[in-house]
């Protein structure tokens, strides 16, 4: 399997001369099976150059049959879709998967991208045959890719994917932050009444279950791509924003026996130099806890052979 990063930035595209090394496009990953089968994760602005690449590399040979798995539908993960060139080819077939909440439809959310006030083309006018599939926690197959999806911890429903192909495993876990017991907020844990104590204990039990499930999701991955928007001290002021920090990413990778860790979803405030520093901090932290697998900050166009 091959993995290529086309967008590694979180929140908002960040072009400019201080982000040339890691790139400024928002999230998009290209995954290829051994026979070049294509799977795309997320449709942030990185899907624009990926679409252009597909037009040159794949389109001249066969009609395109493209599967896109969305982690979730926040803007930075779908905003590139209207600029995805294969969607304008009548011969293309595109299937978009993603999680939605009660009573929502994935298609309706994506239509927002194509509102005439924001963009001059309507979703219905795209020439490709496009299908939308709402996705939950589940296990399914796309061609030879065996995929399982798990809910992550973000302000809206968000899925991490575990993609297995010929014995190799790629795992994505973004956007997410560590599960924590939100029922303890504003309470003194050592001085609760019986009612609050019971609720707290139940919530803690669920937190522990979710943490175990996340570990299982990443277990023995050949590569784990993990939300690492912050450092721990920054994260402490951003609880509930739905993003993680490098120390937690490293610890999660270590506990799940991951072979390679890609730090991902870089904060738009971070320039190349500070992303470099992030990488060094993560490696240093990994050493301090005895985790010896390769760690790097994901960067645009980087290809990793799994």
């Amino acid at each position: 399997m091959k993995l290529r990063f086309w967008g590694v930035r979180g929140s908002i595209p960040t072009p400019g001369d201080t982000t040339v090394k890691y790139g400024g496009n928002t999230t998009c990953l290209e995954i290829r099976g051994d026979n070049d089968e294509l799977l795309i994760i997320d449709a942030g602005t990185g899907i624009k150059p990926l679409g252009d690449f597909i037009m040159k590399y794949d389109a001249p040979h066969n009609p395109l049959d493209i599967e896109i798995l969305l982690s979730h539908t926040h803007w930075d993960h779908i905003q590139g879709f209207p600029f995805f060139a294969p969607a304008y080819l009548a011969s293309s077939k595109i299937t978009v998967y993603g999680p939605v909440n009660f009573s929502e439809k994935l298609e309706d959310i994506l239509i927002g991208d194509f509102n005439m006030k924001y963009f001059p083309i309507r979703l219905q006018e795209l020439r490709a045959k496009i299908e939308f599939k709402e996705l939950q926690e589940s296990t399914f197959k796309i061609g030879k890719f065996n995929i399982s999806s798990t809910y992550l911890n973000h302000p809206i429903l968000d899925l991490g994917y575990r993609i297995e192909y010929n014995g190799k495993i790629i795992v994505t876990m973004f956007d997410t932050e560590p599960y924590r017991n939100t029922f303890a907020d504003d309470l003194d844990v050592d001085d609760m009444d019986e009612f609050d104590r019971q609720v707290f204990e139940e919530a803690q039990d669920e937190v522990n279950k979710r943490i175990a499930k996340q570990k299982e999701h990443a277990q023995d991955a050949d590569i784990l791509i993990y939300d690492s928007q912050y450092k721990e001290d920054e994260y402490n002021t951003k609880l509930g924003w739905g993003h993680s920090y490098i120390e937690y990413a490293v610890r999660s990778a270590s506990e799940a026996n991951v072979k390679k860790l890609a730090l991902f979803h870089h904060d738009p405030m971070r320039n190349d130099r500070s992303v470099d520093e992030f990488q060094n901090s993560a490696i240093k932290f990994a050493k301090s806890i005895g985790f010896e697998s390769e760690i790097f900050c994901a960067r645009e166009r980087l290809e990793v052979v799994i």
Binding site: P155, F183, E202
Partner: protein, 286 residues
């Protein structure tokens, strides 16, 4: 002419939450600093809102591998915003359906009964050493145990008034009067609700066997017994009003199984009343 079964069946999806809960959910959800603790509190004070929220949480929308039996767990698992939106939707939709419904049971008294049974079932579970992380389910089981009555009360209110009168005049268990006059009882209705609402096994057993606790599944025995004892005690001691004017006695075998006595329960009376009072204040009920 529609049969009682048809009328009841149609009514299940239209059950309204309490107007006060709806107002409180709407009010709380406007607050950007709302805490999960407060949202959980308001949902868990209302049997219909709790049941419907759990129904949605356990529905195909989320396809969770394990059924969720409490709002607390759902908030951790699916996130606060998801559950908040779901509660708001459930509450507001229910409010629209509520228009013009007049029932035979006084809903405020009935609500106090449900809450009392929930609080007491939870208290008994705690006293018998149940793990704190499982205790919320006892409360929810108690809260939901009489859910079938809400449907009967709404679907066939005139007939149900006669059932309540009969129970009062003859001092006979309400469930027997239901069967005699309506041919169905609130357990039959609840069976239908449980299958539609996709509740966890423990909740379903507590709802279906709170009048015949010895017949429940072994796995759910404790929760069923706690709800059975709490229900009879609240009826005997007029904690709220469930329409049942001829409650049975608490079975000594069940008290022995739980390792508690009726005297223990009397010691908790103040606490149960305080919990109901706190909930009333929170929901701004008189």
């Amino acid at each position: 002419m529609s049969s009682i079964h048809d009328l009841v069946s149609k009514e299940i999806d239209k059950l309204p939450p309490l107007p006060n809960t709806v107002m409180k959910v709407v009010e709380l959800c406007k607050d950007p600093n709302l805490k999960p603790r407060d949202l959980n509190k308001v949902i868990s004070f209302d049997p219909v809102l709790t049941g419907k929220a759990l129904k949605l949480i356990n529905s195909a929308y989320y396809a969770l591998t394990e059924k969720v039996s409490s709002i607390v767990r759902a908030i951790i698992m699916l996130g606060f915003n998801t559950v908040k939106n779901l509660a708001l939707t459930t509450a507001v939709l229910g409010q629209v359906e509520k228009m013009g419904s007049i029932g035979a049971l006084d809903m405020e008294g009935f609500w106090r009964h449900c809450l009392g049974v929930g609080v007491l079932a939870k208290k008994i579970a705690a006293a018998t050493g149940e793990d704190p992380k499982n205790i919320e389910e006892y409360f929810i089981a108690g809260l939901l145990h009489d859910i079938g009555k809400i449907v009967l009360n709404k679907a066939i209110s005139e007939d149900y008034l006669q059932v309540i009168k009969k129970s009062d005049m003859e001092e006979k268990p309400l469930i027997e009067c239901e069967k005699e006059l309506l041919t169905i009882d609130h357990i039959d209705v609840a069976r239908n609700i449980c299958s539609k609402w996709n509740l966890s096994d423990d909740l379903e057993q507590a709802i279906l066997f709170h009048h015949n606790p010895l017949e429940c599944n072994d796995k759910s025995r404790k929760v069923v017994y706690c709800v059975n004892v709490a229900n009879i005690w609240c009826n005997q001691n007029s904690i709220g009003f469930s329409g049942n004017m001829g409650p049975k006695e608490i079975d000594k075998k069940i008290l022995n199984f739980l390792g508690i006595s009726e005297a223990d329960i009397y010691n908790w009376e103040n606490e149960i009343e305080k919990r109901i009072r706190d909930a009333s204040v929170f929901l701004k009920i008189s």
